[in-house]
């Protein structure tokens, strides 16, 4: 019995994947669990693993091709098994993903009788889905909505990867919804990754022609889609405060002197920690907007915007309110490194309850950040720079930092956000207050 290899949803929001590299060649023996190929999702490069033992056959997707989740990319057959070709391999999109998709025409045969069904009966309409669109039957969508299941996490067994009722029934049998994401896929050793170039940005040198069209990478597509669901639909408002960072800087210097070569505390670590602690005192800001309800989180998970080549991603520091500065710092560096190498697992970049975006290193005084839904708030942190301020009646130079909070007005009102920001400011201006 041949097993189809599908393009799997390797991230919670993945709708199509680019096949970066085949690890197995057609005709090679594969074992269940072995890595078949590397796939670029909208977030990272993940391994597509074999779900059955056998011989890899009918590799239908070449390296560099992009196909929707649910499409068949190959077949694993028993040695010597004759694989029926027609319905097994779905047509694929070529190249950069901008191409037109062919309709998935099934070629039915009549059960029994061995008679080919006359062409128009029954009429089979299997139109191609829009590129990147999730395919699910109307019933499956309704069941998922009522059961609170994220359809993106369900692998569809219908034509073209359509999620149908039975997929939700089998998904319901498994424990929590996110468990159906194949997070168990272990990252493979970085073999052959040199062939993959993340960036498709135009080079700084001026090229020929009046302009250059650069196809969207998976991560750019996701950024475009997700952020368009933020600043447009979400009623943002912004609160800015200027924080005196003298004492935070002194405290950090003292800590780092004491640590010596055992580690370093960065301003970012201090800001993440203070933000997390301030959120425990202002739960109204530690919330998700969920269409018909607001989820106020008791736990604090801070999303940390990390710039990567050609995009950004927000890995999550979980339980940041309970972690020591060194722990936060260590995790932040690990996550940022993974993010830059595009090796973050989905569990590492989902589930934040609030986010921090820091552009201080770029000498930005102040900016506004776009909320990462369903979170209700994000703070944008500017650079720390000495400024003349009036202090005890004297104009003196002090290190100052501007923080701007973006609030989802459906969750956070002006005074609510301002109260949180005031607590954050107090903690940063007097780091001992974090111990209160």
């Amino acid at each position: 019995m041949a097993t189809k290899v599908f393009m799997e949803a390797l991230s919670p929001t993945m709708e199509e994947g680019r096949l970066v590299k085949w690890h197995k060649r057609e005709g090679e023996v594969v074992k269940a669990g072995e890595t078949l190929a590397e796939v670029e999702t909208d977030k990272a490069i993940m391994d597509l693993v074999a779900r059955a033992d056998g011989v890899l056959r009918q590799v239908a997707v070449t390296e560099g091709q992009t196909v929707p989740v649910g499409n068949v990319v190959a077949v694993i057959a028993a040695p010597g098994e004759n694989v029926d070709t027609s319905p097994a391999v779905a047509p694929v999109v070529s190249g950069s993903g901008g191409g037109r998709r062919e309709a998935l025409k099934d070629s039915p045969t009549v059960a029994g009788g061995g008679i080919a069904r006359s062409a128009p009966t029954p009429v089979v309409a299997a139109p191609a889905a829009e590129a990147g669109r999730l395919r699910a039957s109307p019933l499956a969508k309704r069941i998922a909505k009522e059961a609170g299941v994220d359809l993106q996490l369900v692998t569809g067994s219908g034509p073209g990867g359509r999620v149908v009722k039975r997929d939700l029934e089998s998904a319901a049998g498994r424990a929590p919804a996110p468990a159906s994401v194949p997070t168990a896929l272990a990252p493979s050793p970085a073999t052959g990754r040199e062939s993959f170039r993340v960036s498709r940005l135009p080079s700084p040198e001026r090229a020929e022609g009046a302009y250059q069209d650069v196809p969207l990478t998976q991560i750019r597509k996701t950024i475009a889609k997700r952020l368009a669901t933020s600043l447009g639909p979400i009623p943002h408002f912004f609160l800015t405060t200027e924080v005196d960072m003298e004492r935070a800087a002194e405290a950090r210097d003292a800590l780092n002197r004491q640590l010596g070569d055992r580690g370093k505390v960065s301003f970012n670590d201090v800001i993440v920690k203070a933000t997390a602690l301030a959120l425990t005192k202002h739960r109204a800001c530690n919330a998700w907007f969920q269409d018909d309800h607001i989820r106020y989180w008791n736990e604090v998970h801070i999303g940390m915007a990390v710039a990567v080549e050609d995009g950004l991603i927000t890995p999550v520091i979980r339980h940041a309110d309970l972690k020591a500065l060194l722990e936060i710092g260590g995790e932040a560096r690990d996550l940022a490194e993974k993010a830059r190498n595009r090796r973050l697992q989905p569990s590492e970049y989902t589930g934040a309850t609030f986010s921090v975006s820091n552009l201080g290193m770029f000498e930005i005084d102040q900016f506004t950040a776009v909320i990462n839904p369903p979170e209700a708030g994000i703070i944008a942190v500017g650079s720390i720079a000495p400024k003349p301020v009036v202090w005890d009646g004297q104009v003196v130079p002090r290190r100052r930092m501007r923080v701007t909070m973006s609030c989802d007005h459906r969750v956070i009102d002006g005074a609510t956000g301002a109260a949180f920001l005031k607590t954050l400011k107090e903690m940063l201006e007097n780091p001992l207050a974090m111990l209160l």
């Binding site: 059960a111 069904r117 019933l139 219908g158």
Partner: protein, 326 residues
């Protein structure tokens, strides 16, 4: 309950209605002395005489027009066509007169007329005499269209058609006339516009009418052997369509296959699919599939004719597709 053939059930309906209402009369080719090409009018000339059982020349447009005029004048004609393939000649009277006079007279002239006769393919009658006309006729506002599949429905729907004040098309079947079934005696009227669930099931709805009801029931038997529980909905009335029964069944089973004798393009099934996608969208787990006659003139060759027609095997295959079993 007595067991009657479909033809005798129709005969009973005609006799009872002619006994009940002196304005009801039967007209058509060979309905009198020959007692009907398919013996539906057996004994009626003897009982009701030549004024109420009228043999006509081979002139469909002419006697259909006489019927429309009689209806305008207050009678309740039943016009028999030897087959609906011949009724094409009378379409001007059916479509342009019968269906429109109530409207064009500003509601002053109802046309209580019945046009009836066998519809669809029989066996090896060739392309011109093997056609299913229901999608043509159901297209017309001003007409009602019924297509009974069983002797009981044939009796009940013909009585309802005769009593209706609008033109009603009754589609019978040459292959149905000899089929037998229990038929209630006396006053038995099936309201126009009500579908009938001929078999209950949970997994897939097979929607059919007329001869395809037996096709769907056979398919349901085969599916049951595979552990699939199919519900068979007999539309009975094609215009008006019983949307509530269709959507109610699909809401239960989440999947549907529509079976009909006609061609696929603009067929009855297309209308049923429209109802389902509109009224039961959120209940659908799969696109609705259709099993129809092949989109070609009916072949005369016996094997080709069999392949062109809807069959239980085709219905089973379509049901498996909507159940994602293939």
């Amino acid at each position: 309950m007595p067991t009657l053939t479909y033809r005798d059930a129709l005969n009973q309906a005609l006799r009872e209605e002619m006994q009940r209402d002196g304005n009801v009369f039967l007209m058509g080719e060979e309905v009198g002395v020959y007692q009907g090409a398919y013996k539906v009018s057996r004994g009626l000339l003897e009982e009701f005489g030549p004024m109420r059982v009228v043999d006509t020349p081979i002139a469909e447009l002419g006697f259909a027009g006489i019927g429309v005029g009689a209806a305008m004048a207050g009678l309740r004609p039943v016009i028999e066509f030897m087959t609906w393939n011949f009724a094409v000649l009378a379409l001007d009277q059916i479509v342009n007169s019968a269906a429109k006079i109530l409207y064009e007279s500003g509601g002053q002239l109802p046309i209580p007329i019945v046009f009836r006769g066998p519809n669809g393919a029989a066996l090896q009658l060739g392309a011109q005499h093997s056609q299913a006309w229901e999608s043509w006729l159901s297209h017309i506002p001003g007409l009602k269209v019924v297509a009974p599949a069983t002797p009981a429905d044939a009796k009940g729907l013909l009585k309802a058609a005769i009593r209706d004040d609008n033109p009603v098309i009754v589609l019978e079947g040459e292959m149905l006339y000899n089929t037998k079934g229990e038929v209630p005696e006396g006053e038995y009227v099936v309201p126009i516009g009500q579908a009938d669930v001929k078999r209950t099931g949970q997994d897939v709805t097979l929607i059919c009418h007329s001869k395809t009801v037996s096709v769907a029931l056979k398919a349901a038997e085969q599916l049951a052997e595979e552990g699939v529980s199919a519900e068979v909905v007999d539309l009975r009335s094609l215009r008006p369509l019983d949307e509530a029964t269709i959507t109610g069944s699909v809401a239960k089973t989440n999947r549907a296959v529509v079976v009909e004798e006609g061609w696929p393009h603009c067929g009855i099934g297309a209308q049923v699919v429209d109802v389902i996608q509109r009224e039961a969208f959120d209940h659908l787990d799969a696109p609705v599939l259709r099993v129809t006659q092949a989109d070609v003139p009916m072949p005369y060759n016996k094997q080709l004719e069999r392949l062109a027609k809807p069959s239980p095997e085709k219905v089973v295959a379509a049901a498996r597709r909507v159940l994602y079993l293939d």
